[in-house]
């Protein structure tokens, strides 16, 4: 490590763009826009985040890569399309994250463990995604293996959301009737702030990511 140019947190929004997400896609887009606005009001937190948006359905469309949100006029939109391949989503992330971490380090930055926001209704149309998922989160096999916060949206299969979250307390389900866009924005902003500050979790030897339950969501484990 040389004298560092800065400390960065790579954040990935991994959003389900499958057909079943159709009724919620606009909420997601509003949530991303609100998140963008909120971070512009927190310039020091924004300076530490590099933001990527990946939309997945049959395949993965990269909507944004390692962006400094202070330099973006608006965020790209998500679109409902096709089926829900979790395998494609996790395989793409597994390829992408080590490349991104290396690229940022090569620019002289120190890099926090990446955070992934997984937004889905928890109804994958493929069954073979678990191997790709296990590989992605395995810290021995994947350099910079991420923490995954999973948010269930719509007609949620809560068990799947719990399975995708890297810790039980990182799995959430949206409650009916909430302003989903605002809830997502609030959640992401709070998380960004907490993650870039020195964190401490009681009773844990290696706390890294303190996630509080977002307003409008409940722990997915409670609804399993």
């Amino acid at each position: 490590m040389t004298g560092t140019r800065g400390n960065l947190l790579p954040v990935y929004v991994l959003a389900d763009e499958s057909g079943s997400m159709g009724p919620y896609i606009q909420d997601l887009n509003r949530g991303l826009a609100a998140l963008h606005e909120a971070l512009l009001g927190e310039p020091m937190a924004a300076a530490k985040v590099r933001f990527s948006i990946l939309g997945f359905a049959d395949d993965v469309h990269e909507r944004l890569r390692l962006a400094d949100l202070r330099r973006e006029n608006e965020l790209p939109a998500l679109y409902a399309r096709g089926r829900t391949s979790y395998h494609a989503a996790f395989t793409t992330l597994h390829r992408r994250i080590p490349q991104d971490v290396q690229a940022l380090k090569a620019e002289g930055y120190a890099v926090h463990r990446p955070a992934v926001f997984f937004l889905s209704d928890g109804q994958p149309t493929d069954e073979s995604w678990l191997d790709a998922y296990e590989l992605l989160i395995d810290r021995n096999r994947t350099p910079g293996a991420p923490n995954i916060i999973a948010c269930g949206i719509g007609q949620v299969e809560a068990a799947t959301i719990v399975q995708v979250a890297t810790q039980q307390e990182y799995g959430f389900g949206a409650m009916g009737g909430v302003d989903l866009g605002a809830a997502i924005a609030q959640f992401c902003t709070a998380l960004t702030k907490s993650i870039v500050e020195s964190g401490r979790a009681l009773g844990s030897a290696q706390p890294e990511l303190v996630v509080q339950q977002p307003a409008g969501f409940r722990m997915a484990i409670d609804v399993v």
Binding site: G3, P43, M44, G144, S198, G199, L202, Q206, E208
Partner: protein, 333 residues
């Protein structure tokens, strides 16, 4: 007689729009941090910190929201027969922006009979709401305990320094909350803090430094342009990613004092991660800057101004203690 006010001193058309503020972030234009709410004339630099690389957006800090007075910055400096001391603790840019208190603190004292300079540097854990009180209490408790051992003429019992400091922290948390009893876990949630505490002592073979560490504050010896880290640092070159998790008081880990001789021409530095993170291994811009700035002692307020440098993404509180052995010091017999 009062004259009639005919013009709005801050006309709305002078305020930058959200788009302008966004544009400013991309081309380096300096606004106040609350740019979309601030008058256009506030583009003028306000804080005027020293810039190292890309600076943090300049803005006027908010007052610290704290029940007791907590100054934004403290600076101190003096010399003994053997050492010259400079110390500063400055509030981080995020705390200034949000109006939260400086959670770092420092205490440094001279033990006249032995000539030792005794010090403590603490970084309150941001998740603990009264950690600024914890940091102050920890520094003072640790220095008091080390001074007491020196006065007794016994070797400093470093494990006891940590125990006594932890106990003081729990007592302080109890007083802050106004409760008769408080268990250590509750105290940790309120006042947790890191600590480096130690001393430099003039000896027949030259000055010797000794210190203990709880958490990620650290210490270095600067020689010319090279920094030698004396304690565990947060970073390792082999780490793929780094973590901001810390061990903190009032937990009482087993500590082993570390140290060694402070050679002529060397400067002992003790600092929180707000200084250590941007320093890294000292080979970058921040290391180069401080190697020059610390070649010899500067006036205490200049020392504090140097420490308050502006560099993007480094917005934590910073505390730095520097101790130079005096060239003209007579060695003890």
């Amino acid at each position: 007689m009062w004259s009639e006010v005919t013009a709005d001193p801050f006309p709305a058309e002078d305020w930058p729009s959200a788009d302008e503020a966004r544009h400013a972030a991309t081309n380096g234009t300096v606004y106040r941090a609350e740019s979309v709410h601030a008058p256009r004339r506030a583009r003028k630099l306000i804080w005027e910190a020293r810039e190292i690389g890309v600076p943090i957006t300049d803005f006027e800090p908010k007052p610290a929201d704290s029940a007791s007075y907590r100054p934004d910055s403290v600076a101190d400096g003096w010399s003994t027969d053997h050492f010259t001391v400079r110390v500063a603790s400055v509030r981080g840019y995020t705390h200034r922006f949000r109006g939260t208190p400086r959670q770092d603190d420092v205490a440094v004292s001279h033990h006249q009979p032995t000539g030792a300079v005794v010090f403590a540097v603490a970084d309150g854990v941001s998740a603990a709401p009264h950690s600024h009180i914890g940091a102050t209490s920890a520094c003072r408790a640790a220095v008091t305990q080390i001074l007491a051992d020196l006065t007794q003429g016994t070797p400093v019992d470093w494990q006891n320094v940590v125990r006594q400091t932890a106990w003081q922290l729990i007592e302080q948390a109890r007083a802050v909350l106004g409760v008769p009893e408080l268990d250590p876990e509750e105290a940790e949630r309120e006042v947790a803090t890191t600590l480096v505490a130690g001393l430099v002592l003039p000896t027949r073979s030259g000055p010797m430094a000794k210190m203990i560490q709880v958490g990620d504050s650290s210490a270095w010896i600067l020689h010319g342009r090279s920094y030698r880290c004396l304690l565990d640092a947060k970073f390792s070159a082999d780490d793929e990613v780094f973590s901001s998790a810390v061990t903190a008081l009032p937990r009482v880990p087993h500590v082993t004092p570390r140290g060694g001789p402070l050679d002529p021409g060397g400067v002992l530095l003790v600092g929180t991660d707000g200084f250590g993170d941007p320093l890294g291994d000292g080979s970058g811009d921040v290391g180069t800057y401080f190697a020059a700035a610390l070649r010899r002692p500067s006036p205490p307020l200049s020392f504090a101004y140097d420490l308050d440098f502006s560099r993007e993404t480094f917005d934590d509180d910073r505390t730095l203690l520097a101790i130079w052995p005096r060239d003209d010091a007579e060695q003890p017999r």
